[in-house]
């Protein structure tokens, strides 16, 4: 029974950290219509920044500054925000696909730096000994898990309330206006690019914070944690929950993480150890197909906004083959 509660707390903590990433993505995509396929990169930036700031001094690499965990979180948000703002500034004056390609590139480069810049990131072996909140409780796993859950839940709640407030504020209304009808919003004197860069930066900061939370929760990070599969998982969470809705982002994350963890347990029971890797790839196939099916039959997810119009910087062009295969 105690074990079950402990596992439940562990599961929920991970799911809520995912929720935080999804909330960041919802601000970028759901509210503003900015397409980020490199979010794993921003999560990684947050995790590594916070780890560098808070770990004890390490002769093998730069720093280990031994600062308090809260400073690490703050640092993660600042660096993540700046990285996102730079990405946005480079691409948001161009076609929306260029942002997608650039964010994809950001994730690739962050992955490269994490793997190869040993002096900074510890290379493939990652960074260990990241201080954990309530680390003194580690002897009592149940209490430790529950207190960590409380911390993560509190941070997620604060982010949720702040985002709910933001999306109803004049700022959020401008973002929605830009998403729905860019030309009308611009004619009211709103600078489309400036608002979008802001939204993208805040979203990036939230993702980085989530990365930091995760790093301090597990106490160890490595480049493998931030592969494209992470980006993919978070997208599925947002689409299932319904983009545009913060509540949907949180519930979608918990739901999809439940399915993911559940099917993972199932494959580990059903398949022999040497077949595990193959079974895991089948799991990804299933989730990928699920994403495509949801996009086809219920693009608004569980709690989604009403149908959006596509964001286009230039006057909308009708995509070729619009009439589909039947024409």
């Amino acid at each position: 029974m105690i074990d079950l509660i402990g596992y439940g707390a562990f599961f929920l903590t991970t799911a809520l950290i995912f929720s935080l990433v999804t909330l960041g993505l919802n601000l970028q995509w759901g509210l503003t219509g900015l397409f980020n396929v490199g979010l794993a990169g921003f999560v990684a930036i947050g995790a590594y920044t916070s780890a560098l700031l808070t770990t004890p001094d390490d002769a093998a690499r730069l720093g280990g500054f031994g600062l308090p965990i809260l400073v690490g979180w703050l640092g993660a948000m600042i660096v993540g925000g700046i990285a996102a703002a730079l990405t946005g500034m480079a691409t948001l004056r161009l076609r929306s696909d260029y942002l997608a390609i650039t964010t994809f590139g950001v994730a690739v480069v962050v992955q490269l730096v994490a793997l190869n810049a040993q002096k900074l990131t510890g290379g493939p072996f990652g960074i260990g000994f990241i201080p954990r909140p309530f680390g003194s409780l580690a002897e009592k796993p149940l209490l430790f898990n529950l207190s960590n859950l409380a911390v993560v839940a509190a941070v997620t709640l604060v982010a949720y309330l702040a985002l709910e407030h933001l999306s109803r504020s004049p700022w959020g209304r401008v973002l929605k206006a830009l998403r729905e009808d860019e030309r009308a919003a611009i004619s009211l004197g709103k600078s489309a690019r400036f608002y979008r860069v802001q939204a993208f930066a805040v979203g990036g900061a939230i993702m980085a914070l989530a990365g930091a939370l995760q790093a301090h929760f597990t106490g160890f990070i490595a480049p493998d944690n931030y592969l494209p599969i992470l980006t993919f998982q978070v997208w599925v969470m947002l689409i299932v929950g319904g983009s545009g809705s913060n509540l949907g982002a949180v519930i979608g994350s918990i739901l999809v993480w439940g399915i993911w963890a559940g099917s993972g347990t199932l494959t580990s029971v059903l398949f022999a150890p040497e077949q595990q890797a193959r079974a895991a790839s089948l799991q990804i196939v299933a989730i990928g197909v699920m994403l495509c099916i949801i996009l086809l039959i219920r693009p608004n997810g569980l709690f989604g906004d009403r149908l959006r119009r596509p964001r286009s910087g230039k006057p909308a062009k009708v995509p070729a083959g619009e009439s589909g295969s039947g024409s």
Binding site: G105, V106, V109, L112, A277, L291, E322, S323, G324, S325
Partner: protein
């Protein structure tokens, strides 16, 4: 610095360029960046490998053509693989992309291609495992050609094949009715429709060309490097960078962009080290976006 990087760069550049043709065509005609294009490459390569093994099982061991490492089975298999990849692209368009396109949400199509890419790649990993394989394990002796450059017969053959294919596609685009229809559609879709261009057939041709060339690029990687489920996904960033560097919609641009990126990568490998190779395309991409976002041969959107 040895001049060998020129050959390495041209070869990598050919692979990137052949892939980038598909990316640039999909982007300019169907107006979305297809994240599944790299996985067309990988699927084409595995299909070719499967046909090679099937031929090997039926006809026994076939001697390779004199100086090359492969014989006629690979050539036959390549043609079958190209057809297979084109069919795969058409199928994916039929069940997924065309339906989403008809809802008029361009960026949703990009996301769907991202999901499809993940599913396709993992399916390969499931079927063939992530262990790398090879078309041939034979070692070729590289011939010195002066200036400290060495080249293998395979490499010469593949460079020639690339040149022939690029020339072929270029002629198709500029000299045939289909090619002109494709250009018209990419320049002004509404007007193209008004003059009675058959949009559905242009879309089909786009997927066929893109898929077939992706397969050739993948097989080149398979012959010169190795075959892995991730081989195409790793080419995605260089291909996008090449397409944007060359100017979206331009076939010579995509090939030239691919060659530039290939040479830059090979140069970086010599100067900085192989582990930073993948960053080269990102740096070039950012430079293009800041300095000249329409690329070398691009036209401003009208």
């Amino acid at each position: 610095m040895s001049l060998q990087f020129v050959i390495d760069g041209l070869l990598t550049g050919s692979m990137i360029g052949l892939g980038a043709i598909g990316v640039t065509l999909t982007y300019s005609i169907l107006r979305f960046s297809n994240f599944a294009h790299g996985d067309f490459m990988a699927w084409g390569t595995y299909a070719t490998l499967a046909v090679v093994s099937a031929i090997g099982a039926t006809f026994g061991k076939v001697a390779p053509i004199a100086p090359l490492s492969f014989g006629w089975p690979l050539l036959v298999a390549l043609v079958v693989g190209m057809a297979f990849t084109a069919l795969l692209a058409l199928l994916l368009d039929r069940v997924l992309f065309s339906r989403l396109r008809s809802q008029g949400q361009a960026i949703i199509v990009v996301m769907a291609s991202f999901g499809a890419s993940m599913a396709l790649r993992s399916l390969l990993e499931f079927t063939f495992t992530s262990r790398p394989t090879y078309f041939s394990r034979a070692i070729q002796i590289a011939m010195p050609v002066g200036f400290g450059i060495r080249i293998t017969p395979d490499q010469i053959a593949l460079l020639l094949l690339t040149a022939v294919l690029v020339l072929g596609v270029h002629l198709l685009m500029t000299r045939t009715q289909t090619g002109r229809a494709m250009q018209a559609l990419s320049q002004n879709a509404a007007l193209a429709r008004i003059v009675g261009i058959d949009v559905a057939s242009v879309v089909r041709v786009t997927w066929i060309i893109g898929g077939a060339l992706a397969c050739v690029a993948g097989v080149m990687i398979g012959i010169l490097v190795q075959i892995r489920p991730f081989m195409g996904f790793d080419m995605l960033l260089p291909m996008f960078a090449a397409a944007i560097l060359g100017g979206i919609g331009s076939i010579p641009g995509a090939v030239l962009g691919g060659l530039i990126i290939g040479l830059a990568e090979a140069g970086a490998v010599q100067l900085i080290g192989a582990e930073w190779r993948a960053a080269v395309s990102f740096i070039i991409l950012m430079a293009v976006l800041f300095v000249r976002p329409i690329g070398l041969f691009g036209v401003r959107e009208r």
